[in-house]
C-alpha cells in the first residue's frame, strides 16, 4: 500500500468537520508554524520537500515562494487556484468536499510563510456546494481562534475569503484568475511582470493550486526531508490522480510518485483495470492539455522499461513518445473509443474557452475544430490531416498564455500516434460513421530499440 499523507484520514467519519479534523491532528501544523517557526523556516522546509506545483506546470513551490517581492508598506496576497476546469481533473473538488480544513489550514500556514494578511480561494462558480463547505470550514477555524487578529498570540493577522468564478476555463491560468478576482474578464496578462512582483491589485501575489497548498500541512508537520523521502528523483511526495474514462474504478487516488502506470491502471489498489473486460487503447495522462499516448507507449518507455507516474518518466521521450504529468487528470480510453471524435471534442472545448486575445489561439482553435468536425463526420480530405498539424504548429509558442499550446498539443499528438485512424476516416467515411476503428496496433508491444554499435 502506498503512503497517504493528504488523504490519510479520508475515511474517518466526520473528517469534514472541525472537531474530527482537529482530533486527528488537524491544525497541528498551524500551531507548530506560528509558535515555533519563522516565515523563512517554512519556506526552507517547502524547498527541502521538493514539492512541485500540483496545478499542472510542476514548478517548484519553494522557489516560487522565494521569488515573492517584499516591498515595504505593500500588501502581499496568497491566492488559491481552485478553478479546476482542466478536462479530466477533479481532485481539488474531492479534497475541498471531503477534507476542507486541510486546505484552510494550508492557506493560513502558507500565508504566514509569505507574510500575507489576506488570502483568497478562487473556486470555480459551478462548485457552489464546495464554496458553502469552505465558508463553513473558515467560520469554524475562525471560531477556534485560527483566523482573525493576532492568531495564537503570534502577532500574525489573517483572513481567508472564498471567491466564486463565473464559468471560464481560462480563469485557471494564474494571471486570468487574478483579473477575474479583480472583477474583470478573464484575459491573461502579458508576463512579465510576474504575479510575484505585481499580481492582485498590483501587489506581490503567489497563486498556488489547492493540492499544493494542502501539501504544505504535512511538510510543516513532518519536515521537508520526510516528504522528500517519498517519490523518485525530482518527483517527490504524493500526488492526487483523478482517474476517469473507461476504468473499473474511476475516482481520486493519492499515489506515491513513482508507481508504474501499469500498476495504476490494472492493480486493485487503484483503477482495477479497464471496464467491461475491454482492452486499453490510449491514455491522456495529465488532463486534456497533455499529449495523448497509445496503450503501448503509456505503459512502456521507448527503451522497453516500465513507465512510471512521475514528472520525468511521463515526459520521457519528449513529444515524440512521451507526455506529461500535468494536473494528474488520467483519462483512459478503451478499444471502442474513437480518437478522431475525442480530438474534435477537445478542440471544440479549447475553441469555446479561448479568451480571444491572440489571433493564433482564437482563430487557430476555431480552424482545428472545424477541420476535425469534417473529418469526424466523413467530409474530410487527406490534406486536412497535414493542415491540422500546420495550424497546431502556428499556434504553439505564439500566444500570450499557454492555452494556445494546450489546444495544439492534443491535436498534434493524436495525429502523431493515430494518423492511420485519421486517414481511415477520410478513406472510409461511411464506415467511419457506423463503427469505430478499434484497437488496431496501438497496444502491440513496442519494437525493440535498435542496438547501437
Amino acid at each position: 500500500m502506498g503512503r497517504k499523507i493528504l488523504l490519510e484520514h479520508i475515511n474517518v467519519p466526520g473528517i469534514n468537520t472541525f472537531d474530527v479534523y482537529r482530533q486527528k491532528g488537524g491544525y497541528r501544523a498551524l500551531e507548530k508554524a506560528l509558535k515555533t517557526m519563522s516565515s523563512d523556516d517554512i519556506v526552507e522546509e517547502v524547498k527541502k520537500s521538493g514539492l512541485r506545483g500540483r496545478g499542472g506546470a510542476g514548478f517548484p513551490t519553494g522557489m516560487k515562494w522565494s521569488f515573492l517581492a517584499k516591498p515595504e508598506g505593500k500588501a502581499r496576497y496568497l491566492v488559491c487556484n481552485a478553478d479546476e476546469s482542466e478536462p479530466g481533473t477533479f481532485k481539488d473538488r474531492y479534497l475541498m468536499t471531503y477534507i476542507p480544513h486541510l486546505l484552510v489550514e494550508g492557506m493560513i500556514v502558507s500565508s504566514f510563510a509569505l507574510g500575507a494578511n489576506t488570502s483568497y480561494i478562487y473556486v470555480r462558480g459551478e462548485m457552489m456546494p464546495q464554496i458553502r463547505i469552505l465558508e463553513k470550514a473558515i467560520a469554524e477555524a475562525k471560531a477556534a481562534g485560527f483566523l482573525g487578529k493576532n492568531i495564537l498570540g503570534s502577532g500574525f493577522d489573517h483572513e481567508v475569503y472564498v471567491q466564486p468564478g463565473g464559468g471560464a476555463y481560462i480563469c485557471g491560468e494564474e494571471t486570468a484568475l487574478i483579473e477575474s478576482l479583480e472583477g474583470k474578464r478573464g484575459n491573461p496578462r502579458i508576463k512579465p511582470p510576474f504575479p510575484a512582483i505585481s499580481g492582485l491589485y498590483n501587489c506581490p501575489t503567489v497563486v498556488n493550486n489547492v493540492e499544493t497548498i494542502a501539501a504544505v500541512v504535512p511538510i510543516v508537520n513532518d519536515g521537508g526531508d520526510e516528504y522528500a523521502k517519498i517519490g523518485i528523483g525530482r518527483s517527490t511526495g504524493t500526488k492526487l490522480i483523478s482517474a476517469s474514462g473507461n476504468l473499473n474504478k474511476p475516482g481520486v487516488y493519492e499515489i506515491e510518485l513513482g508507481v508504474t502506470v501499469e500498476d495504476f491502471i490494472y492493480s486493485d489498489e487503484y483503477c482495477g483495470g479497464i471496464a467491461n473486460g475491454k482492452r486499453l487503447k490510449a491514455v491522456v495522462a495529465g488532463g486534456s492539455s497533455v499529449p495523448i499516448l497509445p496503450a503501448n507507449l503509456i505503459l512502456k518507455l521507448a527503451n522497453g522499461e516500465n513507465r512510471l507516474m512521475t514528472y520525468e518518466s511521463l515526459s520521457d521521450g519528449g513529444f515524440a513518445t512521451g507526455t506529461m504529468l500535468g494536473s494528474g487528470g488520467f483519462v483512459a480510453f478503451d478499444e471502442d473509443q474513437c480518437i478522431v471524435r475525442n480530438t474534435w471534442n477537445f478542440s471544440r472545448f479549447y475553441h469555446h474557452e479561448s479568451c480571444g486575445q491572440c489571433s493564433p489561439c482564437r482563430e487557430g482553435t476555431g480552424w482545428m475544430e472545424k477541420v476535425l468536425h469534417r473529418l469526424e463526420y466523413g467530409h474530410g480530405k487527406l490534406s486536412d490531416i497535414d493542415l491540422l498539424v500546420d495550424v497546431s504548429k502556428k499556434i504553439e509558442g505564439n500566444t500570450i498564455c499557454p492555452l494556445g499550446d494546450a489546444a495544439a498539443w492534443p491535436v498534434a499528438s493524436a495525429i502523431r500516434h493515430f494518423r492511420d485512424e485519421f486517414e481511415w476516416h477520410v478513406t472510409n467515411p461511411k464506415e467511419a460513421m457506423e463503427r469505430n476503428y478499434g484497437l488496431a496496433g496501438y497496444a502491440d508491444p513496442l519494437p525493440k530499440p535498435e542496438e547501437v554499435m
Binding site: M127, G167, L181, G183, K184, S244, S288, Q337, F346
Partner: protein, 178 residues
C-alpha cells in the same frame, strides 16, 4: 441581449443589498469591483437571469460603468442573459464524460423535454444545455442545476426520468421552492 424583452425596472431588496455589502467588505478599500462576480451570482439566483436593467443597477451599486458589468456578464458562461426555464439542466459535454455516454444522455434529455438546447419548455419549467468539464469526470455522466449547483452523477436514462419527475412534483406542490 438586444432582442430580449427586458424588465422595466429592477429592485434589489434590502436583504440582497445586505449580502452585497458583506461581499464588498472582503476586499481592500476602493477594490469593490472585485465583488462583481459574486454579486452577479446573487442577482441570477434572485431573478433567474441577469437582465440589462439588473446589470445597470449592479454598476450603480459598485460605482463602476455599466459596460464594466456587461463585458463581464457576457464573458462568463454561467450568467444567463435571457430568461430560461425554472430548472436549467446543465450537462457536461466534454471528452471524458463522452467516453461513458454523455452524448446519449443529452439526446435523451432533449427528447424527454421536447426542446432544443437553450430553449424553454412551454410550461416554463425546464431548459437544458451542454457545458464544459465540471470537474466530476470520475462520476460521469454528470449534470448540475443552479443556483446552488447541486450535482447529479453517474446519470442513466432512468435517473433522468426520476430527476425530472421529482422537479416537476416539487414545483407543483410549492412553486416558491426552486
Amino acid at each position: 441581449m438586444l432582442n430580449i424583452a427586458q424588465p422595466e425596472q429592477v429592485v434589489f431588496k434590502p436583504e440582497l443589498i445586505t449580502k452585497f455589502n458583506e461581499i464588498v467588505a472582503r476586499y481592500p478599500e476602493g477594490k469593490q469591483k472585485s465583488a462583481l462576480l459574486p454579486i452577479l451570482h446573487l442577482v441570477q439566483a434572485e431573478f433567474g437571469w441577469v437582465s440589462g436593467p439588473a446589470m445597470d443597477k449592479v454598476a450603480e451599486y459598485l460605482d463602476i460603468k455599466p459596460i464594466e458589468v456587461y463585458e463581464v456578464a457576457t464573458f462568463y458562461t454561467m450568467f444567463f442573459l435571457k430568461p430560461l426555464g425554472k430548472h436549467v439542466l446543465e450537462v457536461c459535454r466534454t471528452g471524458p464524460c463522452c467516453l461513458v455516454g454523455a452524448e446519449k444522455i443529452m439526446k435523451y434529455i432533449e427528447q424527454k423535454l421536447g426542446v432544443k438546447e437553450g430553449e424553454v419548455t412551454p410550461d416554463g419549467l425546464f431548459s437544458w444545455r451542454g457545458v464544459e468539464c465540471l470537474a466530476a469526470c470520475g462520476m460521469a455522466p454528470v449534470l448540475q442545476i443552479g443556483p446552488e449547483y447541486k450535482f447529479h452523477e453517474n446519470l442513466t436514462e432512468a435517473k433522468i426520468d426520476e430527476l425530472i419527475d421529482s422537479l416537476r412534483l416539487t414545483t407543483a406542490v410549492n412553486p416558491q421552492i426552486s
